[in-house]
Each structure stands twice: as C-alpha cells, then as structure tokens.
Symmetry: C2
Subunit: 232 residues, 2 copies
DNA sequence: ACCTGAACACCGTTCAAGT
DNA sequence: ACCTGAACACCGTTCAAGT
C-alpha cells in the first residue's frame, strides 16, 4: 500500500492498531481464505514489517479471534430480539437466526473449524449472541436445562451447512458409472432434473447450488423438534 | 525409526509405498491432528528424506485423501445393508450410520473441513459409502429426487457434530457474570445439574461432555423428518 | 512505545546426482 | 525406478537496535 520506506525506530504516530489489523486481515480472508492470511502478507498490506504486528497482537490465533468477533456481529439477532419482545414466534426467530448465521459463515468456511472450538469467553460478540439466543429460547418456554442442547444442535448443523456451501457442485459426480456408483448416479440425476439449470461450465458462481434444499430440510427438522420442547 | 543411514541412490528394494505412507500419516494425525502432519515429520517416521515421498504421492493433499479414504472405510454400513435386505427399518439404519460416522470423524476433527469439500470421485471408499446409503434410502421408499437432499442434510449435521466433540467442555463458561452473559450462565448451569458430574480438573478426557445430548436431539429431528418423506 | 531488519526453526516442493 | 541432499520460496515468531 504505502511505498515510501520508513526508517527504523518508533514513528511519531502509531501506524497500527488492533482494529486496523483486524480489518485488513478480514480483507485477506475474504479474498481467498484463511490460508492466504499470513503475517507476511498482512504486514505487506499494512505497509509494515511482519514483526511490527507483534506490538499489537499476541500471535496469528489472536488475529483470527478478532476476525471471528467481527463476523459474529454480522449475524442477525433481530428475530431473537423480537421473540424476547413477544413480537415474533419461536419458529420465526430460529429461522431468521439460522439463515443469517449460515449466510455469514458460508462466506468464510475456512474459519469454521476454529469458530467451532473457540470458547465464548474469548470473543465478546459471540458471548453476546449466545446470551441473546439463550434468553430468547428460555423466554419462549424452552426449559432452562434444554436451551444449550438446542443451541448446540443448531450450531452443529449450521457449521456443517456452511462448510457444505463451499463444496463444489460436482461433489457427487462420478467419473464413470461402475457398480459402486450406479445408485448414487441415479439419485444425483433425479435431483438435478427437479430444479437445477443445465450445467454450463461458465457458471460464474462456483458455489454449491445443491446446498439449499438440504439446508431447508434440516432446518425444518430442527425447528419442529425444538417447538416440541416448549412448555405450556 | 531406522537409524542406519542409507547412501543415496536407488535402494535394492523400494522402502516406501502409498499404503505405508498412508498408515504412518494416519498415525501422525491420530496423535495430534492435521497440523502435526508435515512432510518432514512423516519422512522422519518412515526413515527417509522428505523428498522421497514425492516418488509415491503427488503432494500433501494427496496424502490427506489417502487418510480420508481409510477413515471412511471404518464407518459402519451394516445398518444400511440390512435396510437394503429388508432386515432393518429406515430409522435403525440412519441411526446406525449416523452414530458410526460421527464417532469415526470425531476422532479426526481436523480432517473434517477437507472431507466436507472433497469430491466423491477422489475417494473410492467414500463413493462406495454414498452409493450404499443412496441405495438403502431409495429402497426404503424415499423418492430418488430427495435422496441426495437427505444425505447432505445428515452429513452437514454430522460434520458439525464431529467438530463439536472436539470443542472444550468449558466452551460456554464465562469469566464473570455480566449483563451480556447472565442468561447464558443460567442455562449452562441448568444443563449441568441435569447429568454432568462435578468438574474436577483431573478429568482425563478433555472432550466435550456436553456434546451428546445435542447430537441425540438433532439426530432425532432429522430421522423423523426423513421418515416423513417415505412414499407408500 | 512502536517500528525495522536480521535471525531462527520450521514448512512444501523441486531437482540434480547417485545406484 | 527410487533414494539422498541441496536448494528455493515461503512460513510464524523473537529480538536487538533505532527513535
């Protein structure tokens, strides 16, 4: 970015701060995934030496946490807030949250494995989201002791679904039909004729066009199972 | 492993082969995840120079595929085969498959992101598994055009659930109760009193003890939704 | 306090040289 | 064909030196 070389030594005004680092890091991950986020590349984008980053963050994992926190804050809590205010149903709230959650993280599949194992205490925005969802579910009549179970079940499905969006749409294609692929071929073809457009290799969007029906199917399953938990 | 140094040049008998490489690679991943699988470490375990590996595999991704294939073959297809033979119900078959699938991959969470986006044609055992499941579901009366949808929905949930097993059991613990964590704290505590043993730090198994109820919950949801698809 | 630049211990992969 | 060892272009992170 900045090309005029800076001499060593403390600059008059700090060049970096955590927010700026997080912003540029997110840019890199947005462009081409977590693998393209390297301290070297990030430093280059910021116009500093890689070692300068360590004045502001502990390590690379610290940066990933910053990114995560920024992303979680993009998840819509509107439905849940409306549920708390008794302006939406449990079903509506779950649907809104799930769609938004999946949409956000489907853009960043490479972050999902990290997110899945990150403790909420490490990410304030994540904590806030869970807290809101917990309040909403509890106030909708789900017994306290079952709320976490529901949240985790949804999340597992949402993580997996977000990974799935990143899969190639040719994931079930087989090279040639053998005994080991005959049935798979048959059901894959049957799925296609339902809705999908013809496959022209020019499809600009490489994302998995077959990801949506399974998502809707699973989401419906989870929502109706959740509604059965509501106490009178 | 082997300590007597070998001089350069082609050995009388080949030292490596793909199967041996896959076996040792799986050992490394089993011990401490995909990150600990490096060409250097793997070569050391095999008693060769890292560059020797490239006589047998294309690259590291190729090795990961070999591992994947070996793992998929551990997933139980018994239930599905019994369903095909009309010796098990759809519900039993789905339950058996899902439990086994999750159990296998919960041991290897670091592989899940890769598995989720790997095309079946790249992994013969994976192809075989999907083909069997597809045949079983179709023969149980699920319309051809819906089979893939069901499989992908299950898989999304299974991938996410397997990631969840790897999460620390303290994932929902908060450092101190603030306004942003009050509800979460409450429902987490309510979950604990139900079943969990007191937390003594000496717990040998660091895996997430809270992962099972959500898994059962989601699985039940998916199974009953699936059964509703069966044609008369 | 906050930067640069050299250094360290790694990576994955390529390739000439050896048998 | 199948190995070794040097080499290349990277990593993340540390640290002395500069202001």
């Amino acid at each position: 970015m900045e090309n005029q070389k800076r001499s060593a030594g403390r600059p008059a005004k700090p060049i970096l701060n955590r927010q700026l680092i997080a912003q540029r890091a997110l840019d890199l991950v947005t462009a081409s995934g977590l693998d393209s986020l390297t301290m070297t590349q990030l430093a280059k984008k910021l116009g500093v030496a890689a070692s300068a980053l360590y004045n502001h963050v502990d390590n690379k994992a610290d940066i990933v946490l910053l990114i995560q926190d920024a992303l979680v804050s993009q998840v819509s809590l509107q439905g849940m807030q409306r549920l708390i205010a008794q302006q939406a149903t449990l079903e509506e709230a779950l649907h809104d949250w799930a769609l938004s959650y999946r949409a956000v993280f489907a853009e960043y599949p490479s972050l999902i494995p990290t997110i899945a194992v990150t403790a909420v205490s490490e990410s304030p925005k994540t904590l806030h989201m869970y807290n809101t969802v917990a309040q909403a579910l509890a106030s909708a009549g789900i017994p306290d002791a079952q709320v976490i179970k529901v949240i985790v079940a949804f999340e597992s499905f949402l993580f997996g679904s977000a990974l799935d969006v990143d899969a190639p749409s040719t994931i079930f294609d087989t090279d040639d039909v053998t005994e080991d692929s005959a049935w798979l071929d048959r059901v894959v073809k049957a799925s296609r004729t339902k809705s999908a457009p013809a496959i022209d290799g020019t499809d600009a969007d490489a994302r998995n066009q077959y990801a949506d029906p399974p998502f809707q199917f699973g989401l419906t399953a989870l929502i109706s199972q959740t509604m059965s938990l509501v106490e009178a």
